[in-house]
């Protein structure tokens, strides 16, 4: 069925047809016709953010916590340029987003019109794909294609730029035609490679699973298959920051997170393994450390839906291009058909070795009764919230790493963090997006005070929609991770890494009609956290923590997995000048 309607109405119709229930946005001149259509309907809820960057991060939180694409609507020019950081963040973390931008009318494009920017030009390198729609008849088709591209293959953000005259003009609405798109990335892996991997699993003496965000993106079924495979083979498993929750932290084979601030046992298992099975991760530099010393004696298999991830950084012996869920299903099928074989004896010895490494207790820290240690704050947060229906977002920095280390994730889609781009200011708007998708759940943004201030304007959004997001700010009055690097790499010259003139967060919360809680004494911490959980509304929790705590373990830049720093005593003069140039 085709129907005549304006471009603006087509936008709303296409969103409805795609099953969109929530749009994050901010109006402006070039999108007024679409906002008019939003005003005239009740199926799609529009959340008015306070800055376009917030809209994109909120949509990312929505997408990551639901598995559905997030949708953003912003105006031309500054509306679009403000969205660029969020788009880049979503591109690096493979988050499906559909971002709609207004544009000046087609006949004014190129004339430096008011609020004109070359949006498709600016966003070409920070989207998976983008379109400028110049013909209302093509608008609906392009919108449907946008959803298809954002969610197919390796997910990512797409942007559709819609000039104002295209919104006003009338055209024919084309309903979505499933399967019509030329873009159909293959999802099934090569059976020959899968069989080779199964043979390698059967023979391996020291195998390890190294999983990433691709497992979460593949969906709950993929996570289930991963759990089945790990538990049936008894192979230990570690995960990147982005993949936490795909395998439960309480699982028998769980090693904890790996990488720069990963766990000792996870990094040593990666270094010493003889078979590495990468499932939906991408050998990021935060994971590999020094490339030429990365897991020197292992055969490496890599399952990834994006062929360009394979052999990009690390040479792969068994490349498998396909969707994680489909490939894991085939691996299980082949492995079972061949008699469910693993080298039990060798793996038992391998597990013993891992148990020895665990005894190092790499997350141990020096406690204090006078001041709240950030690690302690997160341990208490974990203890007091673990039985809740809980979602965690984070900002970027030390608090993010501590959250990844000390909070446990039992299920996928419960952990939203900016991994690839490392965007300070991500967590607060992301928590708003998560809360919109899960109105009755406990949504906590673990933040540092510096990151949090980067998008604090979203307090207005949280207050307006009465979203009970909990902002758990580990306040050290420092840019903690910058300070840590300056201490280790730049001769303790703390150039511009502390925050003067911080706001009174309690008064700030009250100014927005929210609740503020200040806590500085470890003895009061549990009660204060309970007060935060029990308050029905947005809370800013100002947790004053030790100001000079460093985040360990740490693999310094330019070092290998088995050269971890475990604590303060380890850190004298360990990073050479070669490492200082790395980030």
């Amino acid at each position: 069925m085709t129907r005549e309607m304006t471009g603006a109405k087509m936008v709303v119709e296409a969103l409805k047809e795609q099953g969109v229930d929530t749009v994050f946005g901010y109006p402006g001149g070039a999108v007024l016709p679409i906002y008019d259509e939003i005003f005239l309907q009740n199926d799609i809820r529009h959340i008015l953010v306070r800055h376009e960057q917030g809209a994109v991060h909120a949509a990312e939180g929505y997408a990551r916590s639901t598995g559905k694409p997030g949708v953003v609507l912003v105006t031309s020019g500054p509306g679009a340029t403000n969205a660029v950081t969020g788009l880049t963040d979503a591109l690096l973390d493979s988050i499906p987003l559909v971002v709609l931008t207004g544009q000046v009318p087609t006949f004014m494009i190129g004339s430096d019109a008011f609020q004109e920017a070359d949006t498709v030009g600016i966003t070409r390198p920070c989207t998976k794909h983008n379109w400028l729609v110049k013909d209302t008849d093509k608008l609906a088709e392009t919108l449907h294609e946008g959803f298809h591209v954002a969610t197919s293959g390796r997910p990512g953000p797409v942007l559709i730029d819609i000039p104002k005259d295209v919104q006003f003009a009338t055209g024919t609405y084309q309903p979505a035609k499933p399967g019509a798109s030329r873009y159909q990335p293959p999802v099934k892996g090569d059976m020959e490679e899968i069989t080779e991997l199964v043979a390698a699993i059967e023979a391996a003496e020291r195998p390890v699973f190294y999983t990433g965000g691709g497992v979460i993106n593949s969906g709950p079924a993929a996570c289930q298959l991963l759990r089945e495979l790990v538990d049936a083979t008894g192979i230990p498993i570690t995960s990147t920051l982005m993949g936490l929750g795909a395998y439960p932290a309480s699982g028998d084979n769980w090693l904890g997170m790996l990488g720069m601030h990963g766990l000792y046992e996870a990094n040593l298992a990666m270094h010493d393994c003889d078979l590495m099975i990468n499932v939906g991760a991408r050998f990021d530099d935060r994971i590999t450390g020094r490339i030429d010393a990365f897991s020197p004696n292992s055969k490496k298999a890599h399952i990834d839906i994006d062929p360009s991830s394979i052999n990009k950084v690390i040479r792969i012996d068994i490349p498998i291009v396909g969707d994680v869920g489909h490939v894991l299903e085939d691996i299980l099928k082949v492995w079972k058909a061949r008699g469910r074989k693993v080298n039990r004896e060798a793996i038992a010895k391998w597990q013993e070795q891992i148990t020895e490494w665990r005894k190092v207790n790499c997350l141990a820290y020096t406690g204090s009764e006078k001041v709240i240690k950030p690690q302690y704050a997160l341990q208490r947060l974990e203890e007091l919230t673990k039985n809740h229906d809980r979602y965690i977002t984070t900002e970027v920095g030390q608090h993010q790493m501590w959250a990844a280390q000390y909070l446990n994730f039992e299920d996928p889609n419960r952990w939203m963090t900016s991994g690839g781009l490392g965007t300070m200011g991500y967590g607060f708007p992301a928590s708003i997006g998560v809360q919109m998708a899960h109105p009755d759940s406990l949504v906590i943004n673990v933040a540092g005070e510096a990151s949090w201030l980067m998008n604090m304007q979203e307090m207005g959004t949280a207050a307006q929609y009465r979203l009970p997001v909990k902002q758990f700010i580990l306040n050290n009055e420092r840019l903690g991770m910058v300070r840590q690097w300056q201490e280790l790499l730049h001769g303790e010259r703390y150039s511009h890494s502390w925050s003067e003139s911080l706001p009174d967060f309690v008064k700030l919360a009250e100014a927005f009609g929210a609740k503020g809680i200040l806590c500085s004494d470890p003895a009061d911490l549990d009660d204060a956290i309970m007060e935060m959980i029990n308050y029905d509304g947005p809370v800013i929790f100002d947790c004053l923590v030790e100001k000079h705590e460093n985040c360990f373990p740490m693999i310094p830049s330019g070092k290998a997995h088995n050269e971890m720093l475990m604590g303060e005593a380890d850190t004298q003069g360990v990073i050479q000048s070669g490492g200082a140039v790395l980030v």
Partner: protein
């Protein structure tokens, strides 16, 4: 393995895998990229090369199938085997790219480039330029009393050689199209 664009007849590992780990040998490859003929598609391809620091030695682009909206981009690039594999994989994941072919590894190919040369001179030099042009099967497409414009088609090396010969004879300006290439046979 088709997604990795592995040449027929090579092993299940990519050709790159058979080479020493992280070879730093620079190779020159000619890639044929079939793309949707839509606004911005060339910018996507060029932006990929610029953004990821790959080399472009030459690039030609034109629509080759009007009804199918297909353009063919022929790009000559250099890099280590690993970088060449990356370039192909990165090109392959651009949504508007239909096919990526590495003509350097997929079989024997024919490479042609067209160039026009303006040579200014008189007397013996003018006669010598005309004689050499004849040997290189270059055509005279314009002439004044003291200048020629030659048109020459061939492999880039042949055009380089012709340019070297013309230089002392009064070569004033050169315009080259860049390489167009096709695989031989069916």
């Amino acid at each position: 393995m088709s997604a990795l664009h592995i040449k027929k007849g090579s092993t299940r590992h990519s050709a790159y895998n058979l080479r020493p780990n992280f070879s730093d040998v620079q190779e020159r490859h000619t890639l044929a990229v079939l793309v949707e003929n839509e606004p911005g598609v060339l910018a996507r391809v060029i932006g990929l090369f610029a953004g990821r620091g790959y080399n472009i030695e030459s690039l030609t682009v034109a629509e080759v199938d009007h009804t199918g909206h297909l353009s063919r981009i022929t790009v000559v690039t250099t890099g280590t085997p690993q970088v060449i594999e990356q370039i192909k994989a990165q090109l392959g994941r651009i949504v508007s790219v239909h096919e990526v072919h590495d003509l350097t590894v997929e079989g024997a190919s024919v490479e042609r480039e067209l160039a026009i040369f303006k040579v200014i001179g008189d007397g013996d030099k003018r006669v010598e330029a005309l004689r050499l042009a004849d040997i290189f099967r270059a055509n005279v497409v314009d002439s004044t009393l003291n200048s020629f414009i030659f048109e020459i088609t061939g492999a880039p090396e042949k055009i380089d050689a012709f340019a070297d010969l013309m230089r002392p004879l009064g070569l004033a300006e050169v315009a080259r199209t860049g390489v167009a290439a096709l695989l031989r046979g069916v």
